[in-house]
């Protein structure tokens, strides 16, 4: 392995570019203290690992690598809040607008229900920290739903006026 893994995969000076770009540039000084060469085991383990990556090409590295500590896939929302709901729907362009309008179950009304339930289901014996955390969560979700509705209303207005101008033209 004298050529180094970076060179093996055609990626020279790996710390100079790629790892910096995915927020791991600080790894190098840590590595130097994290491994004990006296045991001699870790480099061997690493060598085993590289065999698991035999086809890991440069393209995979630059195109599909988490650029920050990754979230679980189910919570990943790379683009915006609409993608989450869209992912659960059939991929047809015809109902794209409707999909945005009917964005999952977390409408303002539903969040309002949850708030109400929170007050009814839990009483003063429940830990206040938990209540605070749930209350804060619902406030944020509610804020998000309202923002979504505002954006949707703006979109609808744009479509309405856009449609009018098309007709008058």
């Amino acid at each position: 392995m004298g050529a180094g893994v970076g060179k093996m995969f055609g990626i020279d000076k790996i710390f100079g570019g790629l790892l910096d770009s995915i927020g791991l540039g600080a790894l190098k000084p840590l590595v130097n203290v994290a491994f004990d060469f006296a045991t001699g085991n870790v480099p061997g383990v690493l060598q085993d690992l590289t065999s698991l990556m035999s086809n890991f090409a440069n393209g995979s590295l630059t195109n599909n690598v988490a650029s920050r500590p990754p979230l679980p896939e189910t919570f990943n929302s790379q683009d915006n809040e609409y993608r989450a709901a869209a992912d659960d729907q059939p991929a047809t362009s015809a109902n794209a607008c409707a999909r945005r309008q009917d964005n999952g179950d977390l409408s303002s009304n539903r969040v309002g229900q949850l708030f109400k339930l929170l007050g009814e289901v839990f009483n003063s014996k429940d830990p206040s920290e938990m209540m605070t955390k749930l209350s804060d969560l619902f406030k944020l979700v509610s804020e998000n739903a309202q923002n979504r509705q505002t954006i949707q209303n703006a979109r609808t207005n744009v479509q309405f006026f856009g449609g009018s101008s098309t007709i008058t033209a």
């Binding site: 893994v5 790892l19 870790v42 690493l46 969560l137 979700v141």
Partner: protein
């Protein structure tokens, strides 16, 4: 920054324990799996935008709502990894893995924290597990693990040459 919120380490298990007894708040509130996931994605949106305060509010709320959710713990652990709160990160990432031993993101983030804590061999074990769980090399988190392995190897090699 590492010890920014160490007081929460002491308090977290208390409310986690209380929240699980007798039924999780999620069950008592009737929050569906889809709603739970959607809330998680709202947190993910804040996280990806860099609004970590709001992301933390969401992820902490989800852990409080369902302390048995591996995803919620993994997300909160990712956030603490990002904010360099190592002890809190380890707490939630390890719990996420206990609840779901195929939680790739949690392994990758725990490896990063363990590297910071100079636990090289434990870090490599987590990276190995993450890589093995994604043989198709399609998972961005597992690919981060691959990039880390390459980086670690090159760093070690550079050191041995010196």
């Amino acid at each position: 920054m590492n010890n920014q919120n160490t007081s929460s380490i002491k308090t977290s298990p208390v409310w986690l324990k209380a929240a699980t007894n007798p039924r999780s708040p999620r069950a008592r509130l009737g929050v569906t799996a889809k709603e739970f996931r959607e809330m998680g994605r709202i947190g993910g949106m804040y996280y990806n935008r860099g609004d970590l305060g709001k992301a933390r509010t969401v992820f902490e709320g989800l852990v409080a709502m369902d302390p048995e959710s591996s995803d919620a713990h993994a997300a909160l652990g990712a956030l603490f990894t990002r904010t360099l709160e190592n002890d809190l990160a380890l707490l939630h990432l390890s719990r996420a893995i206990e609840l779901d031993d195929e939680q790739i993101a949690a392994y990758v983030n725990r490896a990063e924290v363990r590297l910071r804590q100079q636990q090289g061999e434990a870090a490599v074990a987590d990276l190995k597990r993450a890589i093995e769980l994604d043989p198709q090399q399609k998972n961005a988190a597992a690919n981060r693990a691959r990039a880390m392995v390459m980086g670690i190897h090159d760093a070690l090699e550079a050191k041995s040459v010196m």
